[in-house]
Subunit: 365 residues, 2 copies
């Protein structure tokens, strides 16, 4: 029975973690570092916990080649808080911020910026239901612009920027929640990168922020809430308040795991293969369909539907029984979504394709 | 060897959790609810996760007798965010908020309110290094006051309000991070109660908020960041952003554990006995000393020092070797601190007193 053993978890986040990591966490859960206490109970200012945070940061820096003029912050709570922190800290008086609206998440970030400060839309594919990324020739910039914001991978619509946007000199900010550590990046191209943990980093409740130091010194004085002030969080090395220790512990293990796999480049290569295999199957099928433009298809979130949408509940039901978990598309867009983060092995993709072929065969008669 | 088994963890937070709870979490870690996925990987909108949050809320309501006109929120991140959320949401235009400053935490909350809005100090014992709670006859209120804020238990100084402060009709707000669920409370006396999880609820990374509904309808419109807006969080039943699922899972287990112990009243009785035994020993000793006024001594955090402070490093070293963990006082005040939250059994207190007697005997010659 699939239900009593581990399944392939295609959830978009919280998402699959490597089984070896979970087993380690399980073994250590009652007694961490031979301290006689659980990592759930250990003080955040103990030498063991401080060393844990340092190790996590060091490994992340190594994996992504983060230069020394960038700070790394491990912040408690959801990445969505960044939607407010970014304009509050980095949108300067008398200026605006430009948003590339290419899916549900960048749209939400844009709305939050508008709620708090002055922001504008550089380009949007909303009218087209986010099927592509508008041609850069059509993008409109305003002066003065504090920063340009974009979402390299949109999980709900399954769209990926195949390039880093040009910003006419403005600071570039990226929500990499669903792609950080899944592909190599040139950190120096960005002013700020952030990522919620629950895709490629750890369990939900942690947000990683990578911020260029010169931006910290430009942050205006109060009244930004202290917890939302990057400067304060950086000065305290993520220990301004009690950090989510357990999430940091899982993140540290994840970074080690990525390193052991051969690093980000190796995983990117595998991620490309995983996505290519599934898209190739979709393209060859007349039972399934995907509407996203080929050039901007997500590597992490493969969104598709059954041509006969009425069969989707049965598809999802049987998939789950076959050990293929959480394939339901986001409630805003429906359909099917297979998320293929770092922890998803090729065997999971193959199992999915086998199931899809079988299902198509049985329902195509 | 004490180091290879579980120890008594006297840390002030993150703090000790019941061993039975940790063992359950350990057993289930790779396969939750027979889903074939870990609770670290499960989607927050799955029926299982929604049921988990509902169960946690229902049990908490039952344990504390929370009336139906109060909302319960499970928010990601540290309780310190509340220091800003409270004035941002509940300090109305042209009004002020009054703070009872009885220790380091209430002082920090007061500072944050001052950073963002207009606040005043109702009473403070700062000049006296927080040894007592100023006589209510000396408290000064201003008109109009949106709310009065206090910290029923101050973990760093080891001070507890033995009564609920009178507010001359203003809404009362309490930071119960270190005492929620450790003693019975009359929720109807409060407009808002909040608590970081890492004392009596769960591991760090979750904040529980209990808020009276009429306050939600009075929250001003933007520009409060959406994540910091109680109204938005309440409308979405804590699912506005991805909540810290694992912390909620531990919290649900903790609420069940408290219920199984006989509820809050039973634990309060035990907490009183635990603290009384330790204070009684301190009062009878001329080797140790505690400076907090008897009437306001904390039940949760027993702060004391050795009359010969030079012996404290050795005391802490030997205590740890004897399986008595994290007894060091907060870095701001020094000395020794024994935190006796719900999960600390009487046997832990007895082991501490035995150790202290032995240490005193050996160093009193």
């Amino acid at each position: 029975m699939a239900m009593t053993t581990r399944v392939y978890n295609f959830g978009a986040g919280p998402a699959m973690l490597p089984e070896s990591l979970l087993k380690e966490a399980q073994t250590e859960l009652l007694n961490w570092h031979n301290l006689g206490v659980s990592v759930l109970e250990v003080g955040h200012r103990t030498s063991e916990c401080v060393a844990l945070l340092e190790h996590a940061e060091r490994t992340l820096r190594e994996l992504l080649g983060i230069p020394s003029n960038y700070q790394v912050l491990f912040l408690g709570g959801a990445a969505r808080t960044q939607f407010a922190m970014i304009p509050m800290n980095l949108l300067y008086p008398e200026e605006q911020a430009g948003y590339l609206v290419t899916g549900v998440w960048s749209h939400m970030a844009f709305s939050e910026a508008l709620r708090l400060k002055r922001a504008y839309c550089v380009a949007s594919d909303e009218a087209n239901q986010y099927k592509t990324i508008p041609d850069p020739k059509t993008w409109e910039f305003k002066e003065p612009t504090s920063y340009i914001y974009y979402t390299p991978n949109e999980t709900i619509n399954g769209i990926r920027f195949p390039y880093i946007p040009k910003t006419k000199g403005s600071t570039l900010i990226a929500d990499m929640t669903s792609c950080l550590l899944a592909e190599p990046i040139d950190v120096t191209r960005f002013g700020l990168i952030f990522a919620g943990a629950q895709k490629n980093i750890a369990n939900a409740g942690l947000t990683v922020v990578i911020i260029r130091e010169d931006l910290l010194s430009r942050i205006p004085n109060p009244p930004i809430p202290s917890m939302l002030d990057y400067k304060i969080q950086a000065q305290h090395h993520s220990l301004y308040a009690t950090p989510p220790v357990f999430n940091c512990y899982i993140a540290a293990k994840m970074f080690d795991w990525i390193k052991a796999q051969g690093g980000v480049e190796t995983l990117f290569h595998l991620n490309c293969q995983k996505a290519a295999r599934l898209y190739q199957y979709l393209d060859s099928s007349d039972f399934y369909t995907t509407k996203i433009d080929k050039e901007v298809r997500s590597l992490m979130n493969v969104c598709f539907s059954l041509k006969n949408e009425k069969l989707e509940p049965e598809f999802l039901h049987l998939a789950e029984r076959a050990g293929l978990y959480a394939l339901k598309g986001h409630r805003l867009v429906g359909g099917i979504r297979a998320s293929l983060y770092n922890a998803m092995p090729m065997a999971g993709v193959d199992a999915l394709i086998d199931f899809m072929s079988e299902f198509a065969k049985e329902h195509s008669r």
